[in-house]
Symmetry: C2
Subunit: 358 residues, 2 copies
């Protein structure tokens, strides 16, 4: 279940966190039509990862100038289709991608994704996306030579980034790319600060305002008075805490009679039903039961499938009420982002997660 | 694409691998109706993980006496529904599960899942399933007391188990449980040897016949002349090498100009499109290109989504032809099991994997 009022509050907090920033909602976090419509009405822009997402945003009433095709891994025919639909902003991080865009989306704005440090994130993004700064300058020059409009740079400090200072180093790299491009006669205008703004799970996280303040100071430090336009791409931060999943306790059991053995609690949702982000126990969702006042015991928590990977928390046990019973309903909070679309089509014959919007 | 001829050949190999064994196909590996129909015709039995899978097997023409509800994590109403559909074989590994079955599936046969060593498996099953042998004997007694028919034990040595000798230790535990139950006046009849029989991926694996011979020797060693009925539950072993996925190269790029940098190759399928078993680079699929005769380079191989987790192979790079080009089609082999149903409903707006059966 997703609460649109929470999404609206979150949107306003992000929109006001930095002066002159534009919010591009990361559609992949939760592409529900109701969420897209609400955000379109509130004036949000959108970061799309595929043509399907672009079409969903247009169907929600946003104009194509408010959409950025932010994936750096796009089929040429998908770029062409986005261009036909009116999209004029594309991400790049490789020569081949620049060439594709120049061929099928001539004259479009491009921004180059930089590879930056992700330490401190609960869901770091590895080296899959972005390129180093030297290559970024080359790509921007290449884009200009091929008739594209180099608009700026983007980076992503890692999803669920708990440390606002991580933006400082990334902005330092961005400012160097701006200067190197200026020396080659190319004026960049925009820094896309990415996402990474955390949702509230178990750990305490800084507020959007604190993020805004820290990032603004870093912008001043690296860009002085020539502040660039900024764009932020919250996904999890916008919708994560707006969602809650109701689950049922299917089984509570022990593996042996020996002392110190963990109690195993099995829910009717797990890694294949939408909670994929518990991989490596990375994201730790708060779970509410009707017995939360009672004494608690350490549990291994698992999903219902016959797959061993479908264990949510075991290395760091999850404390649940001793009085918990089979058949109890529990509420898994903070599940508004990266859940419904992660759900498998039907592993073990279980249906995908259903979503209700209020 | 799944080739039914390969499935049929695999079925015959398994059916003949051990004397007097029955094959229960693990439906979760690939629940395609055509596969279920073929196996029903060939005389196979079926291991189901949910009511949906039971219904699919019945729709394929198998009678309910050929179905075992092999999940140890079942909602009581699902057990009741299976019983209504005629299913009389259920797995147990906890008191609560025995009690549920006694309440809503009275008089049914039950078999107890044992917790055994999984070392040597590419996809080990952790402690999620099964109980230790002392508890198993207690559960079997409890089942008998509650009017159920204790039929035997089951275990699983881990999926894609490369070492046939792992069945030896598990059969030793099984024989001890048989003896302990006999001392309490309960005669067990069946040992379910589980799955784990490997499909051919990159590594060379022993043949089904070698598995059969090794397991038969272990049965003799632990059970002497009082050989139990046996059941095997191949899933991956039956359908894994019958499937191939066609994918397209979306992007080939470098992250920087420095030497020794891996080339990144991005396909239009990844962890969220059906290749979830590449988690931790566990399962390594053979990939065929039209340029396989050419010189090769080490690559990081990734899927198309904006998720950093969607990297197939990076720690141990994958060697692909230097001449590979964007737009090339590649064939990912050995993908008949644990792919289609693992596919996400639409993460990043990408459609789930489509399957064709020949």
């Amino acid at each position: 279940m997703v609460d649109l009022d929470v999404v609206a509050d979150n949107y306003r907090a992000f929109a006001g966190a930095l002066p002159d920033t534009r919010v591009f909602y990361a559609v992949k976090a939760n592409p529900a039509a109701e969420i897209l419509k609400l955000l379109a009405t509130l004036g949000s822009c959108f970061d799309a990862a595929s043509v399907t997402e672009i079409e969903a945003v247009l169907a929600a009433g946003a104009t194509p100038d408010r959409i950025s095709f932010g994936s750096t891994i796009k089929k040429e025919r998908d770029i062409g289709r986005a261009f036909e639909l009116g999209v004029r902003h594309f991400a790049i991080d490789s020569e081949a991608e620049v060439d594709k865009i120049a061929r099928v989306a001539p004259g479009s704005h491009v921004f180059c994704r930089l590879l930056v440090d992700n330490s401190g994130a609960d869901w770091p993004l590895s080296r899959k996306f972005g390129c180093d700064e030297e290559m970024a300058v080359d790509l921007i020059e290449r884009a200009k030579r091929l008739g594209l409009v180099p608009h700026g740079v983007s980076f992503h400090v890692g999803s669920q980034q708990g440390n606002p200072k991580m933006w400082d180093a990334a902005l330092g790299v961005s400012a160097r790319v701006f200067r190197a491009c200026a020396e080659r006669g190319i004026g960049l205008a925009m820094v896309n600060l990415g996402g990474g703004f955390p949702a509230k799970y178990m750990k305490k996280v800084p507020s959007v305002r604190q993020y805004g303040d820290t990032i603004f100071r870093a912008l001043r430090k690296h860009f002085g008075n020539a502040l660039p336009e900024t764009v932020i791409e919250p996904g999890r931060g916008l919708v994560g805490d707006a969602g809650v999943i109701e689950a049922e306790v299917v089984l509570i059991s022990k593996k042996s009679k020996s002392k110190g053995e963990l109690t195993w609690v099995y829910l009717d949702i797990g890694k294949f039903g939408g909670l994929a982000e518990t991989a490596d126990e990375a994201i730790r969702y708060p779970i509410r039961t009707s017995r939360d006042g009672d004494a608690k015991m350490p549990c291994a928590l698992a999903g219902p499938t016959c797959d061993s990977l479908d264990v949510l928390y075991e290395k760091e046990p999850y404390w649940l009420p001793i009085s918990l019973e089979i058949g109890d309903k529990v509420l898994i909070e903070g599940t508004g982002a990266y859940t419904t679309t992660y759900s498998s089509v039907g592993f073990n014959g279980f249906s995908p997660l259903k979503q209700y919007v209020i």
